[in-house]
């Protein structure tokens, strides 16, 4: 009973954080709000019986990706101190987004209405990290390898794109 209550509470927090993240003019604040929303999601994951994922969510997602964001924001100094950036978009822009949200919700309701999932909802279930690791490296061993390749490609790509103008120019006339 408490779990359901916790779920709704955390859902609300997540939603609020995301909304705040979106409408912030300063990207740093929005990243912080995003981290808050990720934490609440991690807790929901935990509620839903996925402790491993919850932990990973916090470590990988909040820890790595958001930090990267902050790093880039700081590097590019896009903070709204320079007056050029326009004021936060007014009602004119968010109107259609609301309409979009409504349509999406209506769509999901309709889909749910079409073939209703069994009424009793998400059971109380708990997947221990052991089973998680076991299936991960048993059935999805190949997937793990591919993901690792993919991550290394991403690293190389990021490095190449990230090279500054000067070094690339020097490299071209060298080769």
């Amino acid at each position: 009973m408490i779990a359901t209550l916790m779920f709704y509470l955390l859902g609300a927090v997540a939603l609020g954080a995301t909304v705040m993240a979106i409408i912030q003019r300063n990207p740093v604040y929005s990243v912080i709000y995003l981290v808050k929303s990720i934490f609440s999601l991690a807790l929901i994951f935990y509620l839903l019986g996925a402790p491993m994922i919850a932990a990973l969510q916090i470590i990988v997602y909040a820890g790595a990706i958001m930090v990267l964001f902050l790093f880039v924001i700081m590097m590019l100094e896009v903070t709204p101190t320079n007056a050029a950036t326009r004021t936060a978009p007014g009602w004119f822009h968010w109107g259609p987004v609301l309409l979009l949200a409504l349509t999406l919700v209506a769509l999901t309701l309709m889909l749910i209405g079409l073939d209703p999932v069994s009424s009793e909802g998400v059971p109380r279930w708990h997947a221990s990290p052991r089973d998680f690791g076991y299936t991960l490296f048993k059935e999805y061993a190949l997937a793990v390898k591919i993901i690792s390749f993919q991550l290394s490609f991403a690293a190389v790509g990021a490095f190449h794109v990230g090279m500054t103008e000067r070094r690339r120019a020097r490299q071209e006339d060298a080769s």
């Binding site: 259609p96 349509t103 999406l104 209506a106 769509l107």
Partner: protein, 619 residues
């Protein structure tokens, strides 16, 4: 016997083609010999085969020209008395004119083209005369039109000559249209276009169709013979060399219309309204031309208008129902008018290529011989007693009088008046040209002997041709009516009326002479009066036609080419093309590189589709 008949037609054609194709390659005199030889040969062939034409004539079919479905037109010759007389006249006068032209055109560089066209003209004229079916006659009909176009516009360097040629060609072609429609109608009615075939079955038709067809034939004849509605081209046709005027606009082409009506007489004579129309057209033209001739200044234009009025007389004769009177006047007119034109050519040379009679005068001293020849022609034209003109014109007037009813008596009265006018302008011409002293300033250019020799036979024929159809008053046998097999044309009037008619004719002739003598004995420079101006321009008919036909034609033409062609059709096409390109440009605006715009498009699309399904599901 067939060979002679074919030769009549073939020789001029051969002469024309040889001259046209190889004339310029042959040494100077050879083309002239070929041309004259061809026509004289044709004349002899005609003489040779004259006996064939006795009775109801001789038929000869060479080959089928066009055969499709039940339409059959073949190259066939019909050599009956009417055709024989006409061929004799055409080839005779043509050979004399060829001899004259040999002299007249001596120093002309383009001689070969002239003689080629002259020969082709004679060939086309003979095709009209000898054709046994209407299509072949139509071929000759248009061939004559083309040759006159070429010959009138012979000195093409000056555009007005070429324009005169074109005007003649187009106006005669308007006439040809009516003739073509008549031809089509006759074929549709009888299934055949042979002249005799039609004349045989003609009685079966009801009167209105006959009237319509005869009127069409009349208008066709008017085009070619320069009668009232389509006569404006003849005066301008004087732009051509004098032998051309002599041959085409005196003897042969203008009489083609009369010949057509005589050929189709059995058909035409069925409807009295058509006959009245022909007579009316004839007399109106005669009157119109005679008045115009009064005020002309150029010697050839006077003769041209006089030709128009004499042909009007012939139409009158046909309208009165007397083919032999028409043919009699046609023959006599051919002789003395050819004579007049040729002597006029000599006079022009004598006056140093001066056309205007106001600047000529006293030509009698320059060349008495030409004076006497010209006078002989003038006397015949004016209708001096005992000359051929007198007899043929008197026969026509007598036929008009013989009908007796008021309409024909009116025609007779007008005819007498026109005769008076004719003698007036004849002697006006004589006094202006011969009396007094020479007013021009050019040196005389002596006409060569070759130009003078052909004139003598014509003068003699002109004076004595009356014997051909002497009325019984003068103990004549009306030979021509008998020869044409139309004895019903011979008039049987009481002696007193005969003398009365002859008396009036002589009185009118003398009256005309006296008036002309009074007016023009001593030449005095007179300001052309308003009426004179009006008559000079042929009652301003040209401007009328220009206003009624030429200008609207050009306007519609401009409307068609600018308005419809450039505006509508090109407009529609270019408009469509421009519309596509504009649409393309606008669509291009959509892909303007703004990422957010693309995303918006994506989302809106998504929302619309999902919304549509939601609505359908909900509703």
């Amino acid at each position: 016997m067939d060979i002679l008949l074919i030769l009549i037609l073939l020789l001029p054609l051969a002469g024309g083609v040889i001259n046209a194709c190889f004339g310029s390659r042959m040494p100077q005199p050879v083309p002239v010999f070929i041309a004259c030889g061809a026509v004289i040969g044709s004349f002899l062939a005609c003489l040779g085969s004259l006996t064939l034409a006795a009775g109801d004539g001789y038929r000869l079919v060479l080959f089928t020209w066009l055969k499709s479905g039940n339409f059959q037109a073949d190259i066939g010759l019909l050599y009956d008395p009417l055709a024989a007389i006409m061929t004799l006249m055409v080839t005779g006068v043509a050979s004399l004119i060829h001899l004259y032209a040999a002299g007249y055109m001596e120093d002309e560089p383009d001689q070969v083209r002239f003689f080629a066209l002259l020969n082709l003209f004679v060939f086309a004229m003979l095709t009209i005369v000898l054709a046994d079916n209407l299509l072949l006659l139509f071929l000759g009909w248009e061939g004559v039109g083309f040759c006159s176009y070429g010959l009138i516009g012979f000195w093409y360097r000056k555009t007005e000559n070429a324009d005169a040629g074109r005007k003649a060609f187009i106006v005669t072609r308007i006439g040809d249209l009516f003739f073509a429609v008549a031809l089509l109608w006759l074929f549709a009615l009888f299934g055949t276009i042979s002249i005799e075939g039609i004349n045989a079955q003609v009685s079966g038709l009801e009167v209105t169709t006959v009237t319509m067809i005869s009127l069409l034939l009349l208008f066709g004849a008017c085009g070619k013979s320069a009668q009232v509605p389509l006569m404006s081209w003849l005066a301008d046709a004087m732009a051509g060399p004098t032998p051309v005027s002599a041959l085409i606009h005196a003897a042969t082409m203008v009489t083609a219309g009369v010949y057509l009506l005589c050929r189709m007489f059995p058909l035409v004579s069925l409807s009295s309204t058509a006959m009245a129309a022909i007579a009316l057209v004839g007399i109106v033209t005669a009157l119109y031309a005679a008045t115009c001739a009064l005020a002309q200044n150029e010697i050839k234009r006077v003769l041209a208008y006089s030709t128009m009025s004499q042909v009007g007389y012939m139409f009158l004769a046909v309208g009165l129902g007397s083919v032999s009177a028409a043919m009699f006047h046609l023959l006599t007119h051919a002789f003395f008018k050819a004579l007049l034109f040729m002597t006029a050519g000599c006079l022009i040379n004598l006056a140093g290529h001066e056309n205007d009679i106001r600047r000529m005068g006293g030509m009698r001293q320059r060349s008495p011989l030409v004076f006497w020849l010209f006078l002989a022609g003038l006397l015949c034209l004016a209708g001096a007693p005992l000359t051929s003109g007198f007899f043929s014109k008197d026969l026509i007037l007598a036929t008009a009088f013989a009908h007796g009813d008021p309409f024909h008596l009116g025609l007779y009265g007008l005819g007498v008046m026109v005769a008076g006018l004719t003698s007036f302008y004849c002697f006006r011409l004589a006094y202006l040209v011969f009396a007094g002293d020479f007013r021009g300033d050019e040196l005389p250019h002596e006409p060569s002997a070759l130009m003078l020799w052909p004139l003598y036979p014509l003068a003699i024929l002109g004076l004595t041709a009356g014997l051909l159809n002497l009325p019984h008053l003068f103990s004549g046998g009306s030979w021509l009516s008998g020869w044409l097999g139309r004895t019903q044309d011979v008039l049987h009037l009481s002696i007193s009326i005969e003398y009365l008619l002859i008396g009036t004719a002589i009185a009118v002739f003398v009256l005309g002479w006296l008036l002309a003598a009074l007016r023009y004995r001593k030449y005095s420079e007179r300001q052309p009066s308003l009426v004179g101006e009006f008559l000079l321009n042929g009652w301003r008919v040209d401007d009328l036609f220009d206003l009624l036909l030429v200008r609207p034609f050009k306007k519609i033409g401009r409307f068609c080419s600018q308005g419809v062609e450039a505006g509508l059709i090109e407009g529609v096409l270019n408009g469509a093309a421009r519309g596509c390109t504009d649409l393309g440009m606008r669509l291009r605006g959509l892909a303007d590189g703004k990422v957010s715009a693309y995303l918006q498009g994506l989302v809106w699309g998504f929302v619309l589709i999902v919304g549509w399904f939601l609505l359908r599901a909900l509703v």
